[in-house]
């Protein structure tokens, strides 16, 4: 065990864990941030996604000691009580079914739109392909990303 300090959702947090612990368990169990969820632990599904320095990252295969940069989880995406445009689009399009995967879907979309504010349909499919949904809400997710991209343009 070792004391490690992380910057999560704008706060500095210190935890006493084995440095090899995947970030996922630290966020969920030590910091009680429940946006990221365990799906595979293998980097294959995206359920555990967080943003590190703005980039979508799979926390299940990221040792906590390897984290450099600000961590943003779904819980910290809204700013000053206002939902992120991607979150708002997710509500407007009524995207989630069970919702278990949607943390990864939204954060991957946030990361995509940061890199590419006006993605084509093909770019959306390509960027989102590694994030799985077993309720198969892909059609609405893609509509929501287009909606969020439009909203981001008009801001």
């Amino acid at each position: 065990m070792a004391n490690l300090t992380l910057s999560v959702n704008g706060q500095r947090r210190t935890v006493d864990v084995d440095p090899a612990t995947p970030l996922l368990y630290v966020l969920r169990n030590d910091l009680d941030l429940h946006g990221p969820r365990f799906g595979c632990g293998l980097g294959q599904c995206g359920a555990c996604t967080v943003l590190i320095g703005g980039t979508a990252t799979r926390s299940c295969v990221t040792p906590v000691s390897a984290v450099k940069g600000e961590v943003t989880t779904l819980d910290g995406l809204a700013k000053d009580g206002k939902l992120h445009p991607v979150q708002q689009a997710w509500i407007d399009e009524q995207v989630p079914a069970c919702g278990y995967c949607q943390n990864g879907q939204m954060l991957t979309a946030v990361s995509l739109l940061q890199r590419n504010p006006r993605p084509t349909d093909a770019q959306i499919r390509e960027a989102m392909a590694p994030v799985l949904c077993r309720c198969f809400t892909y059609y609405r997710i893609q509509a929501a990303i287009k909606r969020a991209a439009g909203a981001a343009q008009t801001v």
């Binding site: 632990g41 359920a47 079914a97 919702g99 198969f136």
Partner: protein, 797 residues
């Protein structure tokens, strides 16, 4: 308003304080604290981890068990269902708000907590509205009646001189005279006893509203579960946590049917956070203080397993040969009319084909999990299991403790379309918590979920058909074999996985079932014959079957509706036209086959015809036989049709595909679904459910297959087990909601089931579209690129 906010305003005031002071969110316990003041709270207000219990069943004969009106004129509905992310909770609020005459925004709904909500069995079978919606409507109507009586006393005016809207009663003659429901009863009990022999028949004496007077039914308020799922505040079973909680991971047999010879506990004893190895029979789990410690220790634990003497099952590539050759363990009574053999013998053209569907899994995105807290001599289970009531009873029975000492709090969870491993994990958490005397959280690992979750049964179907000289279908023979012996029920204390592994399974395995397609075609000579077959190993096997979203429908309908298409092609008739002839009983040059249809059959058939036509129209279907003219490039386009009927719900679907003749990739580019489930409560939530169900079917059609060697399942993660991804998403989906009641004196239908019916026909529609595009008929699911390329080569495309 988020549902939690609503809960906070309408329920115990201590909750917000509790959340603030506790430092960390004690999920699940807080769910219990949502309880309305009138429901026994089992000590929840005290802030203890768990109240002392016991937890008696809420009495469904008491109106107070279903509805609580608060002083601020809000209402809480308590229903015994669970919402798996399809908006049923919102729909319950819509129907109950309408019957109660309460503003929808001022209501909330609590679901599936065995000590707080009446036992409606949880969810399953897409019957939430079809069956359970009725008592909900009747109790809400009864509450309205009682409140109007109270209003009448309050104003000294007969009820018929009162008007009510949004929970406010007004004297018609003097609208300044108003009283709210909250003012009349807020915070007090109705004290009204209901009647009815069982929960589904529960009723008061009020009459229900005609649909025309409903304000919320038929509209699409946003689903109330979505905001919290989007902003990260939703409460999930996977988040459940109480002080002193331990983490467990299972160690599964590496080979099906293997038994434990020896466990070397010293292999993990020194590991950080190690608490215990628990073993009974072939059930093995490792328990640690922290989650990642439990994962590491479960991987490290040295177990010697004895491999069984005979192979538990054939390898997946030999599965269908095995199913063909083995003796059925059960043959169901055939459904038959006419004389099938004579009709086939006399047919001008005979056609025969065999179809194969492999085992397919639930393969939930979130592996099975649960948390159990044994403090105070009671047991509280935090679970997403869709049948929380059955989980409670099953666990009580399994552990030999009174039901009153067990409760299940239902919380959100990953998709649960049927009998998932959430059942198994719930029992495991309870067992470990009882054994260790501490709260224990269990979650399965990815390979475990893939391999050991329950499967939809594999199907082998042989079809024979006969056309007369005019191309009329005169004989149709269906014979299916389903690998479904030992089909698992829900939360059975003697079939759940830990019961099997600890040697406590029942003597006689369930005999399993098989289905025929559920169409309403008129065929003069028809027979459907169904058999069940068993794999060699029955218990302690990862190839265990359980209900998977319309348990046999996709398999049976894939075969049935593919074959109808083959017959239509043989007759050189447009596939929609061919089906309409079968539905109307019209035959070329013969007239009607059946003149005196029983009323219900006629009603069902009329609605089927309406749906088939609605789908064709929405698509812009131009009649022509399949296959269509073939283009010259790499991409071949085609369209396919299929239809099914399920428990009063009709579905007609069209898939438009693009087949890459070089790579074999199939893309379902466009989907149309005409759907008639009677009265639609929330059109938008229904549309999304249908869309998602269809995409699930595309995944099953194109990608999904559980593979295994002769010892173990070999699809163990998302690499070995492909699933639908964003790349496969159709470009366009049209869902047409049809209310097809042909009776002009009956302007509305009851609410039927919705979700599962939409899963039935699509696999066939895709196969039919591939045929339309290429002239190649694929009779084996899934239609993966290699298989498609081989089929194209066989017909030289």
């Amino acid at each position: 308003m988020r549902i939690d906010d609503i809960l906070e305003t309408v329920s115990t005031p201590s909750r917000r304080e509790f959340l603030k002071t506790s430092g960390r969110l004690v999920v699940g316990f807080t769910a219990a604290a949502h309880a309305a003041p009138l429901v026994p709270l089992a000590g929840a207000q005290t802030g203890a981890v768990q109240g002392a219990g016991p937890y008696p069943d809420p009495d469904f004969h008491q109106l107070d068990s279903w509805i609580v009106i608060h002083q601020d004129n809000t209402a809480t509905f308590y229903v015994g269902k669970t919402d798996l992310g399809q908006g049923t909770g919102t729909a319950f609020r819509q129907i109950m708000s309408d019957e109660l005459d309460m503003a929808f925004e001022r209501t909330t709904c609590i679901m599936g907590h065995t000590d707080l909500t009446v036992d409606q069995g949880g969810s399953g079978g897409s019957d939430a509205l079809q069956v359970d919606g009725w008592p909900m409507r009747r109790v809400a109507a009864e509450a309205r009646r009682v409140l109007l009586d109270m209003g009448s006393t309050h104003f000294g005016v007969p009820v018929d001189r009162l008007a009510v809207s949004d929970g406010v009663i007004t004297v018609k003659a003097d609208p300044s005279k108003q009283v709210t429901y909250g003012e009349l009863i807020g915070g007090r009990r109705f004290g009204v006893t209901l009647t009815g022999r069982n929960i589904n028949e529960t009723t008061g004496i009020a009459t229900l509203k005609p649909v025309q007077e409903m304000k919320y039914v038929g509209t699409s308020p946003q689903r109330d579960d979505i905001p919290a799922k989007v902003n990260g505040t939703a409460k999930w079973a996977v988040d459940a946590k109480v002080p002193g909680m331990l983490h467990a991971r299972n160690v599964k047999p590496p080979v099906a049917g293997a038994s434990v010879v020896r466990i070397d506990e010293s292999s993990v004893r020194g590991m950080p956070g190690f608490v215990a190895v628990v073993r009974e029979g072939n059930y093995v789990a490792v328990v640690c203080e922290r989650e990642e410690q439990a994962i590491a220790a479960a991987r490290r634990l040295q177990v010697n397993w004895r491999t069984p003497a005979t192979a538990p099952f054939p390898a997946s590539e030999d599965l269908f040969a095995y199913m063909r050759g083995t003796k059925p363990t059960r043959t169901l009574d055939p459904q038959a009319n006419g004389d099938i053999e004579a009709a086939l013998a006399g047919a001008a053209v005979r056609l025969e084909a065999e179809y194969e569907v492999p085992f397919q899994g639930h393969t939930s995105i979130g592996p099975a999990h649960a948390m159990a807290d044994p403090s105070n001599g009671q047991l509280t289970i935090y679970s997403n299991d869709m049948k929380s009531y059955g989980l409670r009873s099953g666990i009580a029975e399994f552990l030999g403790i009174p039901r009153e000492k067990v409760r299940v709090l239902w919380l959100h969870g990953p998709q649960a379309y049927g009998r998932t491993a959430a059942d198994d994990a719930g029992f495991e958490a309870a067992y470990l918590a009882q054994k260790l005397g501490r709260p224990v959280r269990v979650q399965w690992m990815r390979d475990e979920e893939h391999a050991w979750d329950t499967k939809g049964p594999a199907y082998l179907v042989k079809l024979r058909g006969g056309l007369d000289a005019r191309g009329n279908l005169v004989a149709l023979d269906y014979e299916a074999r389903a690998a479904d012996y030992c089909h698992l029920g829900y939360n059975e204390h003697d079939t759940v996985l830990i019961a099997q592994l600890t040697g406590r399974q029942r003597q006689e395995a369930a005999e399993g079932g098989a289905s025929a397609p559920s169409d309403t075609y008129v065929v003069p000579n028809r027979r459907s014959l169904m058999h069940v077959v068993s794999l060699p190993l029955v218990w302690e096997t990862p190839l265990r079957t359980g209900n998977l979203r319309d348990p046999n429908g996709p398999q049976a309908t894939f075969a049935g509706e593919s074959f109808i298409d083959e017959l239509a092609a043989e007759a050189k008739v447009d596939p929609v036209e061919f089906r309409l002839r079968l539905l109307t009983g019209q035959m070329n040059g013969v007239g009607r086959v059946l003149s005196d249809l029983p009323d219900d059959a006629g009603f069902r058939r009329a609605r089927s015809i309406a749906c088939v036509k609605a789908a064709a129209e929405a698509y812009g279907w131009r009649p022509r036989p399949s296959p269509g003219p073939r283009g010259g490039g790499d991409l071949l386009a085609g369209r396919g049709f299929a239809y099914a009927y399920r428990n009063q719900t009709v579905v007609a679907q069209i898939a438009e595909v693009e087949v890459n003749r070089r790579t074999g990739r199939v893309w379902v580019k466009r989907l149309v679904c005409a759907h008639d489930c009677g009265l639609v409560v929330n059109p938008q939530a229904l549309r999304h459910t249908v869309e998602n169900a269809m995409l699930h079917s595309i995944s099953r059609a194109l990608h999904e297959e559980v593979t295994f060697d002769t010892e173990k399942v070999t699809t163990v993660d998302w690499r070995t087990s492909p699933t639908l991804t964003h790349l496969d998403t159709p470009e366009r989906i049209d869902v047409v909601l049809v209310n097809g009641d042909p009776n002009p004196n009956r302007p509305d239908l009851p609410h039927y089931g919705a979700g599962e019916a939409a899963c039935k026909p699509l696999i066939a529609a895709i196969a039919n579209a591939i045929y339309d595009a290429t002239g190649a008929r694929i009779r084996r699911v899934p239609f993966r690129p290699q298989r498609v390329v081989a089929a194209l080569e066989a017909v030289r495309v």
